[in-house]
């Protein structure tokens, strides 16, 4: 087995080997968790990843390739061959992740949560009727109706939940629509444009700058082709391609172009070697789909809550079933009691309410550019304790931008914010005038036409990243670059290549009096400096002496050390006598000088962080969330960006930094002194899970650089091992497995690849990391508010349950009917419990630590105890007072009610005496019983108003929170009262609903109890605030 594992992970992770070894070595419990994490996936990944190993097409010669794929690089495949291959291998498209069939989703809603319990209730109803029917064929259909009502309730809430789910998934549908891609292919010796989906292995395709590579291709001939592999590797630097085999690893070799990467410039011809799911990208994508979708924290919480409630319901139900049977009740009656207890205990409307609450928050977040794919993910961000963020495109803008300039012996800082508009460095120096000219002229990048109205930074440019950066930089500062270039006509040019490491062009100047040619050059700073003999300072040429060279090196090192790409610029005015206007320059023979240039300056570029990120990182910090950077990029760049966004804070050092500062060896540094760590993929590979665990534990600030998709997965798993709730942000395909594995995957909406979006739970529509902070805030708020909603809903369950228990044990006429309970749960209580979702936070939730997955439960003991045993019982008492009042005023004093049940319910007893000696017929009693139901209902409803108000806060006084700040609460209260009035006075005559009219005064009987509840809760909160940490606080704060 170890062998297999090794095989699977050896491509990019030989760390698994270590895992196996350590596991064998000391066999501690601890590592088993991590190992187990891998095991179930083995089979999934095995197939794809072993295939990756087999890829050796880059080593083959063209002839061998032709033979292997039965094609010809001149004529291409024949249409017939292509059709056959297409039929055999399927279309060249990624299989979308398997969708659960709608019908199964629907049925899941029908049996999930409390539905099972209610189904049991409904079935018991029908069984009860069956028993009744077998004893007496003319028995009433009440139980059948009740069963049907329960079934209806389940189905309706199921449909509702399904609808809500479906609505949120539908938002995603828009993202899945991809523009059909075209590919230029040679078939039957003809060039044809076909949809990329129809490409087959062996097809010869042509690629031009700007195209997306339509499949994995082996490049056959290449002209200056560069590709952007950032979606695969996270590296934003363009990679040159050639047709030579340069590296054993298919990922590193230059003669392979990968599916879905972009060709930035140049042209290339290649042979398709893999299509669809068999491409590298496809394999990563299937790696992502192999990662199981774990339950969201809120789903776990809700399940926990359902278990508690169901446990209470079932145990009380069974307890009283046994009690009833042993009290010599008939089994039939006992079953009916059981139904009542179940219905009373189950908060039928709660799950629907939770869904609505979540979708309300999802909507609110969508407005703030956080699109939530999975409703439950709304809360996950709130409990997130670690964010693993990708660098490129998430923290950074994913485009090279000029960050620093060095001229006149000074480093100037350029504005790297998103619009670059605020360039404040000194532009008066003559050196800048020369430098700006070089930047403008020695540049092949061009804006695509027709973008005059687009902001400069958003214009599309043909050219590589650095040239684009320079073009935009000069366009912002100097204005119309194209116009300047036109005025300074280009006569000759040597483009950049990797051997020269410079770019040179010769221009006529725009000064009509100056007939000299201007030769401008840019390139790797050390190469440029070699060619210079003078340096320009303050617009004056000075000889290049040792001091200036020193200054140059210092500046170069400093800029380079910040992870920036540095370019040197120099120029030379060709003497007019040697090079007259008519002189013809020949770039091949180099009939012009290439030394003794005048060095003008340095310019450094970086993919700058988004301007909102540092603030967002600080906010995450203060919210107790650890931000880890996980990137495929270079450690130096990664560290520089991490420092600039605050992932490594200004005053913290890595072990290497300390070593450097103290001039000691890295090994001698006390590791505890370092707060930050930069870990590369190579180092990570050699780490045991134990070490990774230690790393994650000991360093609050960590940057992972040069990581592979699998390593990202391992990092996420490592974090999850610490019981952390992990959020992963990313945009590339390489991020998608980690996105899927994370508790919440966050994809970028604009730059994000489809694979990332598919794997993610949430999409940032504006690609703004700061939106995550909003998400965290909303998530935490919703968690708090759900607590309130659940507390509110659970409270009345006791008030609904007590009547049944007392009915069974004391033999009172039934105080509240099952149908009436349903009217509370699904009628009066729905809108108020949703209204609690609109409650504002009690204190600054962003200064709080994230909740602990296992300790801070949604429904904790305190909440259940306080709701059930405190407020719930008070409500029950209040409702009973209303009930007794109604009965007493009608003639039945409480003492007369005790043990009256059997006679009361006997329809043949039509002269039952009350406390005054009056005699009641059965129907008269029945009507009185319904009046009792209504009274009890009103009693609960009135006290639920108080309950709603006290649930607005958990710690603060209601007056601190503001009674009227949340208007929706009042809508809720109004709805409660109106629904109750309609039920009593409007539907009072519909006997099936068992509501009756109620004298107006009965509506006020429970009011003192409502006030009592309020006062009691205020006292509770007062003590919590007065004695934080006390026994009271620990037991009464939920």
């Amino acid at each position: 087995m170890a062998k297999k594992t090794l095989e699977i992970y050896s491509v990019e992770l030989s760390g698994m080997k270590d895992i196996e070894q350590t596991d064998k070595g000391n066999g501690k419990e601890k590592y088993r968790g991590l190992k187990n994490c891998f095991e179930p996936k083995k089979n999934h990944r095995k197939e794809e990843l072993t295939k990756e190993l087999d890829l050796d097409d880059h080593k083959l010669s063209i002839k061998e390739l032709e033979k292997k794929y039965g094609t010809n690089i001149i004529t291409g495949l024949s249409s017939a061959q292509a059709a056959e291959l297409l039929a055999r291998n399927g279309p060249n498209a990624l299989t979308p992740p398997k969708e659960t069939p709608e019908i199964i989703k629907f049925f899941k809603q029908m049996v999930g949560g409390f539905s099972i319990l209610l189904w049991i209730g409904a079935i018991l109803c029908w069984i009860a009727y069956g028993i009744q029917y077998s004893m007496n064929t003319s028995s009433s259909l009440d139980n059948v109706y009740l069963g049907c009502v329960l079934a209806l309730v389940i189905i309706l809430t199921g449909i509702f939940a399904y609808y809500q789910e479906a609505k949120s998934t539908n938002i995603m549908a828009t993202f899945n629509k991809m523009i059909p891609q075209q590919a230029l292919v040679i078939r039957d010796s003809e060039k044809k444009t076909i949809p990329a989906e129809q490409l087959v292995v062996g097809d010869i395709v042509e690629i031009r700058g700007g195209d997306q590579i339509p499949a994995d291709i082996r490049l056959l001939s290449v002209q200056g082709c560069k590709v952007d592999n950032s979606s695969l590797t996270g590296e934003s630097e363009p990679q040159p391609r050639s047709s030579e085999f340069t590296h054993d690893s298919p990922l590193e070799t230059k003669n392979i172009g990968f599916y879905s990467t972009t060709c930035l410039e140049g042209t290339a011809t290649g042979m398709v070697i893999n299509t669809g799911d068999r491409t590298i990208i496809g394999q990563i994508a299937s790696l992502a789909s192999g990662v199981g979708n774990e339950k969201t924290p809120i789903a776990i919480e809700i399940q926990h809550f359902v278990h508690i409630v169901a446990g209470v319901a079932v145990s009380i139900g069974i307890l009283f079933f046994i009690t009833a049977v042993s009290l010599k009740y008939q089994v039939l009656d006992s079953i009916i009691f059981l139904i009542g207890i179940i219905v009373a205990n189950v908060p039928e409307g709660l799950l629907a309410t939770v869904t609505v609450t979540l979708s309300l928050t999802a909507k609110r977040m969508a407005k703030k550019n956080c699109l939530v794919k999975n409703l439950e993910a709304v809360e996950t961000l709130g409990s997130t304790s670690i964010i693993c963020s990708d660098k490129t495109g998430t923290l950074t803008q994913n485009r090279m931008t000029v960050a620093h300039l060095w001229f006149d012996n000074q480093i100037f800082i350029a504005d790297t914010s998103e619009d670059n508009s605020n360039q404040v460095f000194d532009q008066s120096s003559g050196t800048w005038a020369s430098l700006s000219k070089i930047i403008t002229l020695c540049n092949r990048a061009e804006f695509r036409p027709g973008q005059e109205n687009v902001p400069i930074m958003k214009r599309v440019v043909a050219g590589d990243a650095s040239e684009t950066a320079l073009l935009k930089f000069s366009e912002v500062i100097l204005g119309d670059v194209m116009e300047i270039r036109k005025r300074n006509h280009k006569v000759a040019e040597i483009p950049f290549n990797s051997t020269n490491k410079f770019q040179l062009s010769i221009h006529k100047t725009d000064d009509p009096n100056d007939k000299r040619f201007l030769m401008v050059m840019k390139g790797a700073p050390e190469r440029i400096l070699e060619k210079c003999s003078t340096i320009m300072v303050n617009g004056q040429e000075q000889p290049l002496d040792k001091n200036t060279a020193e200054a140059f090196h210092t500046a170069y090192m400093e800029l380079g050390g910040q992870g920036e790409r540095v370019l040197g610029f120099c120029h030379l005015y060709l003497p007019a006598d040697e090079f007259p206007e008519t002189y013809t320059f020949d770039v091949d023979t180099m009939n012009f000088p290439t030394s003794n240039f005048c060095f003008v300056g340095l310019l450094s570029m970086i993919d700058p962080p988004r301007s909102t990120v540092p603030d967002a990182v600080t906010k995450c910090r203060s919210a107790g969330i650890k931000v880890i950077m996980v990137t495929g990029d270079h450690p130096i760049t990664a560290k520089a960006i991490a420092k600039s966004v605050g992932i490594i804070s200004a005053n913290s050092e890595t072990v290497e930094d300390i070593a450097k500062r103290l001039h000691i060896a890295v090994e001698q540094v006390n590791k505890r002194d370092a707060k930050a760590a930069v870990v590369t993929g190579m180092e990570l590979k050699d780490m045991s899970p134990e070490q990774l665990d230690e790393l994650l534990t000991n360093y609050p600030e960590i940057v992972f650089a040069r990581t592979s998709p699998q390593q990202k997965l391992i990092i996420v798993e490592g974090c999850q091992m610490q019981n952390a709730v992990v959020a992963v942000t990313g945009d590339g395909v390489n991020d998608s497995p980690a996105l899927k594995k994370a508790d919440i995957g966050i994809a970028m909406g604009i730059t994000g690849s489809d694979a990332a979006k598919n794997a993610a739970d949430m999409i940032l529509l504006d690609d703004n990391f700061a939106s995550i902070v909003t998400g965290v805030e909303e998530g935490r708020l919703i968690f708090d508010n759900l607590k309130k909603t659940i507390a509110y809903t659970l409270t009345k369950n006791i008030a609904e349950l007590c009547p049944f228990l007392i009915y069974i044990t004391v033999g009172l006429p039934l105080p509240i009917g099952t149908i009436t309970i349903l009217f509370i749960d699904l009628g009066t209580d729905i809108i108020p419990s949703i209204a609690l979702a609109y409650e504002k936070a009690e204190s600054d939730i962003m200064n709080r630590k994230p909740r602990h997955k296992k300790k801070d439960r949604l429904v904790n003991e305190q909440l259940a105890m306080y709701s059930y045993l405190h407020i719930g019982l008070m409500q029950a008492v209040g409702a009973f007072v209303v009930y007794f009042t109604v009965y007493a005023q009608e003639g039945f004093k409480p003492s007369a009610l005790i043990n009256i049940r059997v006679e009361w319910e006997n329809s043949n007893v039509n002269d039952l005496e009350d406390s005054y000696g009056q005699q009641w017929t059965w129907y008269q009693r029945k009507y009185l019983e319904w009046m009792g139901y209504t009274a009890f209902f009103v009693g609960i409803m009135v006290q639920q108003i108080a309950d709603l108000i006290i649930r607005k806060t958990r710690r603060n006084s209601i007056f601190q929170q503001g009674l009227f700040r949340n208007k929706v609460i009042w809508v809720g209260i109004a709805s409660q009262i109106i629904i109750a009035l309609i039920l009593s006075y409007g539907l009072g005559s519909v006997t099936a609903l068992s509501f009756t009219m109620l004298r107006p005064q009965y509506w006020f009987v429970a009011v003192p109890f409502a006030i009592l509840i309020w006062v009691y809760d205020e006292v509770r909160k007062l003590f919590i605030r007065l004695y934080p940490g006390s026994w009271w606080d620990k037991n009464m704060y939920y």
């Binding site: 419990e29 969330i625 630590k849 296992k854 005023q889 129907y923």
Partner: protein, 359 residues
Amino acid sequence: MRRQLRSRRAPASPYAYRYRLDDQDEVNQNYLADEEEEAEEEARVMVVPNLEEEEEEEEEEEEEEIEEKEKEEEKGQGQPAGNAWWQRWQIVSEYLWDPEKRMSLARTGLILVIYFFFYASLAAVITLCMYTLFLTISPYMPTFTERVKPPGVMIRPFAHSLNFNFNVSEPDTWQHYVISLNGFLQGYNDSLQEEMNVDCPPGQYFIQDGDEDEDKKACQFKRSFLKNCSGLEDPTFGYSTGQPCILLKMNRIVGFRPELGDPVKVSCKVQRGDENDIRSINYYPESASFDLRYYPYYGKLTHVNYTSPLVAMHFTDVVKNQAVPVQCQLKGKGIINDVINDRFVGNWQSGSEDKQAKK
């Protein structure tokens, strides 16, 4: 909950963390956020002295205790005589303060005491409410009587079912009716009525003004009023001859008075089917009505001896061996006898009156 608190403490110090490295659940809880939280919590706890001792102290205490125990055990081995006592003490102390569960009897007790007081005050509140409720309602007169009106009717003999089904020649089939009627009419015995109740003038209400709490007198309704159905002449109430007596009784309602001068009458007829199935019915008293002098009723507290008036129906000639549905209605002003859902208000419908008399 105690357990919860305990696990919360687990990562409080790096040492605690170390100790629990082998504990799968607790391994990974030591991340910074938690540590800080713990620090805060501890700080809070220190400021406010309370029932729960400061956490670290507890931990130390625990360790100390274990150490002490070990020491004591060593000692104990040295002193075998004191061992039993020591063990006993240990059991008691563990009961009071169990370091493993961090649970003390005192604390559980405190929770119980607090709940006890909470529920005691809740009970006090409900008692108070009930008390005020009883203050507001009169013991003599119900506050509302609209639900018990209009009065219902009930029949005697009543035995589980409203169907009368018997065989004249088999006394067993009707004997229980006779016993039931006899029992019911015991309270109507002439001697008893003459002794307890007054003979008040018929045809007018027997209104007794005066204080509510004064005892009220009741009018006589003698068994002999029922003549042939009194069971005095025919102890079988006609069942032995196939001419059964059925007594009709109107439900008592406090303060109920039939419209003045118009006593409530009873009339029976065949509900469905051939009207000739019942050829004759005799009513006793002959007026077939509930005399006004029995009204109003003042409630059972003061009107102790009130005797409900009866009307007996003697079905002297009924078709036999066949179900005869009978409906008896009360007729009078203020009596509603067509309430849809209640067949006992204002009328009484017998499912069937099936008499089999074999000859």
